[in-house]
């Protein structure tokens, strides 16, 4: 039986950075991944948005750390990950949304975010060709941005390997053995591994992994649809988030990446529950109507590819991070609600400090994102 300090289930947006930071702290780390290589779960479906603009202190803190890390990825480690500081823009067309966002703005500023309400004209400067009809203004946070999830995963994989992490690809977790309130080992279809700490970072499969340890995790994946266009000359900087909903969709967002391609993603309404990621005929006509409505200049751009990805959702739209009560050596980093990519690097660093350094400076995060919270709230910017 192989023995490690920590075993991480999942080599995705969350598991990869976490494995690196733990290994770097001298831990002997193993990552078990059922796919053939890293980032094959939802990382490959992520569109790359990175924002600290959230509505709660925990996520704001984690994402501020993520941005800080990824911004410096090339300088610190030599990996080009297409970081682009384009900011996040929430253009507002409805009075109720204006009121809500302006209320939130006060909180956001209190949490230390650089964000402000800007006028329709300022929005037009940032996003030439945006629909000005009914535009009331919006919030803009200039230090948010985007990066390539694929390149980021690739960078963390190599960093983690070089730091000594062992990856077991093509291995599916079958069961855990438990003694009292402690996990002893994990059995895959190929081996049994024992460890001091076991981390569930299984993304869309977090609930199943949880169930194997006797935990009922409220993580329910639903699928969102995304697409990418041909590249055109760079002409707008921010990620544009349209918070409105219609009878087929809730919010949607899009941005122009470093290569000039426009990447977009929509939240279907009603939700498409489950793990099915096959495309249906409804998506393209719906998303193009919404994009061209808010940004008519995009009507002539050609769509190159579409895909679906999973949002492992929790009832309130916030992640679950921390130790479950009944299993002292298990750690949860699950239910990222479609934000695994932006939360992953910061979260990885934080969890590594909690586990390896036994720090308690992040207790406010563990409290807020506890499995035992009421799940009554509703993340406004999910």
């Amino acid at each position: 039986m192989q023995k490690f300090d920590t075993v991480i289930i999942g080599a995705g947006s969350v598991g990869l950075p976490l494995s690196y930071y733990l290994s770097k702290k001298g831990q002997k780390v193993a990552v078990i991944e059922k796919e053939h290589s890293y980032g094959r779960g939802q990382n490959r479906a992520a569109i790359g948005g990175l924002r600290a603009t959230h509505s709660d202190p925990a996520k704001i803190k984690i994402c501020q750390m993520s941005i800080d890390i990824l911004k410096k990825m090339e300088k610190d480690h030599g990996f080009e990950i297409d970081w682009l500081e384009g900011g996040y823009l929430y253009p507002i067309y409805e009075e109720a949304k204006e009121t809500a966002l302006k209320e939130l703005l006060v909180k956001q500023k209190n949490y230390g975010l650089d964000i402000d309400w800007i006028s329709p004209e300022e929005i037009r400067e940032l996003v030439p060709g945006i629909n000005m009809n009914g535009l009331r203004g919006g919030t803009f946070s200039p230090h948010d941005g985007s990066a390539s999830p694929l390149k980021t995963a690739g960078a963390y994989y190599i960093l983690s390997l070089d730091a000594g992490t062992t990856f077991f690809f093509d291995e599916e977790v079958e069961e855990f053995s438990k003694e009292g309130g402690k996990l002893i080992s994990v059995k895959t279809d190929k081996r049994v591994i024992s460890a001091d700490v076991f981390i569930n970072a299984a993304g869309g499969n977090a609930k199943e992994i949880g169930a194997m340890c006797g935990l009922d995790l409220p993580v329910y994946p639903d699928s969102h649809e995304a697409g990418v266009t041909e590249p055109v000359k760079y002409f707008f900087k921010p990620m544009v988030v349209d918070l409105r909903s219609d009878n087929q969709s809730a919010n949607f967002y899009y941005y122009q990446n470093e290569g000039g391609q426009i990447i977009f993603c929509v939240t279907p309404e009603p939700k498409i529950l489950g793990k099915d990621c096959d495309n249906t005929s409804e998506f393209l006509p719906l998303i193009t109507r919404r994009i061209v409505d808010i940004h008519p200049r995009l009507k002539n751009i050609r769509v190159r590819r579409t895909w679906r990805g999973l949002y492992p959702m929790t009832p309130d739209g916030f992640p679950i991070v921390g130790r479950p009560k009944d299993i002292e050596n298990m750690f949860l980093a699950v239910g990222m609600c479609g934000q695994g990519f932006m939360l992953g690097p910061g979260l990885g660093k934080i969890i590594s400090e909690i586990i390896a350094d036994k720090t308690n400076k992040y207790n406010f995060i563990l409290d807020e994102l506890s499995l035992y919270r009421q799940f009554e709230g509703n993340e406004m910017l999910k």
């Binding site: 290589s37 060709g129 002409f235 006509p285 002539n300 050609r302």
Partner: protein, 688 residues
């Protein structure tokens, strides 16, 4: 203008000339022809400048698949090979990436059209058409989705006579004529709808497909069954200079030359001795284009022997055990260097030689376009695949296979029919690979005209037997079917010459003895005449060796088969060996005095869209321990407009070069959309 104004087989019709501009300069083209062909006719072969390294880009597939021919037309980036030319168009080189027009008017909303049909046939080529006919006969409502403006697929490019049998696959008839025959049959069925210039955008799980109708409007089709007859795409080859304008697929060449009658080249060099490469050479010669040579890394010609013999007779050398080392040129290809290979396929540099050429054709084989089929199966739809989408083979076999596919689909949809077992046998025969080559048997020339066959390889072909009015010719051999070779078995030849005119391999002559020293021989000739009775012409044997200069006595044209029958007087000794008339002078096939060698053997392009080289890929695979094709997107390989259609075929070799067994690598995923579609055509919305 680089147009073909006279052609031995194709009719050159007068078409409306229109003015347009390229990069602001006035040029002329033909109304409705693809913009790419109009540009080629003006000698323009560079269409874009790549964003990565400012490299010039030319055409590659001429088939709407690869996007390499994109230009800016009236402000919009468009694939020039599928955009019809109109008067006054403003065509511009696409430099790096296009700028989106500053058009901020709201978009007109309309409801998307949803069509309903029993069976969608994807691809109106030989197999798609025959399957549609079978389904239509049985009463099904059929919709053919065809991305070109005419039905027929690759039949439209094929000016040569077909192999196979006359009863099952129109043998002896030329490809483009078969296309017309099939289109006529299709038109007779009111229950068949044809959507022209329409590409499939995606196959969706809710049992619908999305199509880009008439290259203008997105529509949804509701169906019960899918026939995937989408054909094949040409394989790319990797060598330094493979990205230069002027290096492209043999199919693209046939499109330019045979469909659009553009004299795309003066001197062409061909890689690959399969039927596609061999026929391309033949088509080039017919269009008045010199063929410098053909190379194949294999030790044997991979196409039909009669095809290879045919072009050797015309004066084209076929170099076996030989590979291409590199192509050279500044803004387009100017030279190519080839070398022989050892038994491990490594080039022997001492044998390297360089040829001057303006066009290098890649005829390295085809891969099936079957991703729609795989998707349909994954979603549990009723689907069949046929033609090249199923298995790469001759169009004769595709036509027969299409009939079977149509019947299979009918059964899947609940029709109680039996498929004749003999159909499967025939289909197998028609797609047979060439068999053994026999030694020629000595022939004694008689007093009366009798046929002499230079047809020694087992291939599925028999029109000489069915065309003979006296039934003098039979196939004899071990198969007992059309794979056997022809023999003159009944001595009642009238000298009508039909066997000479019909033979797709031009491998039959008629000969008679005049006196002890001389003979009269009737030879097939499919070229514009450059000689007249009384002239002396070079007559060759099967391998292209010149036998003697013989006097032309008589020339007649068989109109049905569009083949000249040339009667020559020659020595009796050579009469049984005579089979061809040399058309190309030896001097065009001579190498240059100086041999050029590539500086960086690993800078051949693998991903053409994003210009990713072998070296970049191999280094990346090693550094990032790549075991998943998806990871190659980190260096943009496979991220281009074509959707990884061209590069994915090359990946096994690249991974091998990086020391990774491709069995241990996860392949890429095929997702909609398969062709790029502008947002304004996709929108579904209520009219307000």
């Amino acid at each position: 203008m680089k147009r073909i104004t006279a052609h031995p087989v194709l009719e050159v019709k007068a078409r409306q000339e229109v003015d347009f501009t390229f990069d602001g300069l006035p040029v002329k083209g033909l109304e409705g022809e693809p913009v790419s062909s109009a540009l080629f006719a003006n000698g323009i072969k560079q269409f874009s400048i790549h964003k990565k390294d400012d490299a010039p880009q030319g055409i590659f597939c001429a088939n709407g698949q690869c996007s390499q021919c994109s230009v800016i037309i009236d402000g919009m980036p468009l694939k020039s090979c599928v955009t019809p030319l109109r008067a006054g168009m403003d065509v511009r080189t696409l430099v790096h990436i296009p700028e989106l027009p500053h058009d901020d008017e709201p978009c007109f909303l309309s409801r998307l059209e949803t069509l309903k049909t029993d069976v969608v046939v994807i691809g109106g080529g030989p197999s798609g058409l025959t399957s549609a006919i079978e389904l239509a006969k049985l009463g099904f409502d059929v919709t053919i989705v065809e991305d070109k403006e005419k039905l027929g697929g690759k039949l439209l490019l094929q000016t040569h006579k077909f192999f196979g049998s006359q009863e099952d696959s129109f043998a002896g008839t030329r490809g483009y004529e078969i296309a017309e025959l099939l289109e006529k049959q299709i038109r007779e069925f009111p229950n068949v709808t044809v959507l022209y210039e329409t590409s499939v955008v995606g196959v969706y799980k809710d049992k619908k497909i999305g199509v880009y109708k008439n290259n203008g409007k997105y529509s949804i089709i509701d169906f019960e069954g899918l026939v995937i007859s989408a054909g094949a795409r040409e394989k790319s080859l990797v060598f330094p200079g493979n990205d230069l304008p002027g290096v492209y697929g043999a199919g693209a060449f046939q499109t330019l030359v045979n469909r659009d009658l553009v004299k795309a080249s003066e001197r062409v060099f061909i890689i690959g001795s399969g039927n596609v490469g061999l026929i391309a050479a033949y088509h080039a010669l017919q269009a008045g284009i010199s063929v410098v040579g053909i190379v194949d890394i294999m030790e044997k010609v991979s196409g039909y022997k009669v095809h290879a013999d045919k072009i050797k007779r015309m004066g084209v050398p076929v170099y076996l055990n030989t590979t291409v080392l590199a192509a050279f040129g500044k803004e387009k290809i100017e030279k190519v260097t080839v070398a022989e290979v050892d038994d491990k396929w490594n080039p022997i540099l001492t044998t390297a030689r360089t040829y001057e050429t303006d066009t290098l054709l890649i005829a390295a084989g085809l891969t099936p376009v079957d991703e729609f089929y795989d998707q349909a199966l994954e979603f549990g739809f009723k689907a069949v695949k046929t033609g090249d989408a199923d298995e790469i083979a001759e169009a004769s076999s595709a036509m027969f296979g299409g009939r079977i596919a149509g019947l299979k689909m009918a059964k899947m949809l609940g029709k109680e029919i039996e498929i004749d077992r003999s159909f499967y046998e025939k289909a197998e025969i028609l797609k047979s690979k060439p068999g053994i080559v026999f030694e020629p048997v000595p022939v004694i020339i008689k007093q009366n005209l009798t046929p002499v066959f230079q047809c020694f390889q087992e291939i599925p072909c028999n029109p000489c037997t069915t065309v003979c009015p006296k039934g003098c010719i039979s196939l004899v051999g071990k198969f007992g079917n059309i794979m056997d070779t022809p023999t003159y078995t009944l001595d009642e030849c009238t000298g009508c010459g039909l066997c000479v005119a019909v033979c797709p391999g031009l491998a039959v002559s008629l000969a008679k003895r005049i006196d002890e020293a001389s003979a009269e021989v009737i030879l097939p000739h499919e070229y514009l005449l450059s000689f007249a009775p009384g002239d002396m012409i070079n007559v060759t044997d099967i391998d292209g060796n010149i036998l003697e200069k013989a006097e032309v006595k008589h020339i007649r044209l068989n109109k049905k088969y569009r083949t000249h029958l040339v009667t020559v007087k020659m020595s009796l000794n050579n009469a049984s060996k005579a089979i061809g008339i040399r058309v190309q002078d030896e001097s065009v096939t001579k190498p240059c005095a100086e041999t050029l060698l590539p500086e960086l053997p690993d800078n051949g392009i693998v991903c053409r869209c994003e210009r990713v080289t072998v070296k970049e890929l191999v280094d990346f695979i090693k550094k990032f321990r790549v075991r998943d094709v998806n990871q190659l997107k980190q260096i943009r390989a496979g991220m281009g407009a074509c959707g990884s259609k061209t590069c994915s075929v090359l990946y096994p070799r690249i991974f091998k070069q990086a020391g990774v067994d491709y069995y241990d690598v996860t392949g890429g995923t095929v997702r909609p959309v398969t062709v790029e579609v502008p947002m304004n055509s996709l929108i579904e919305g209520e009219v307000e």
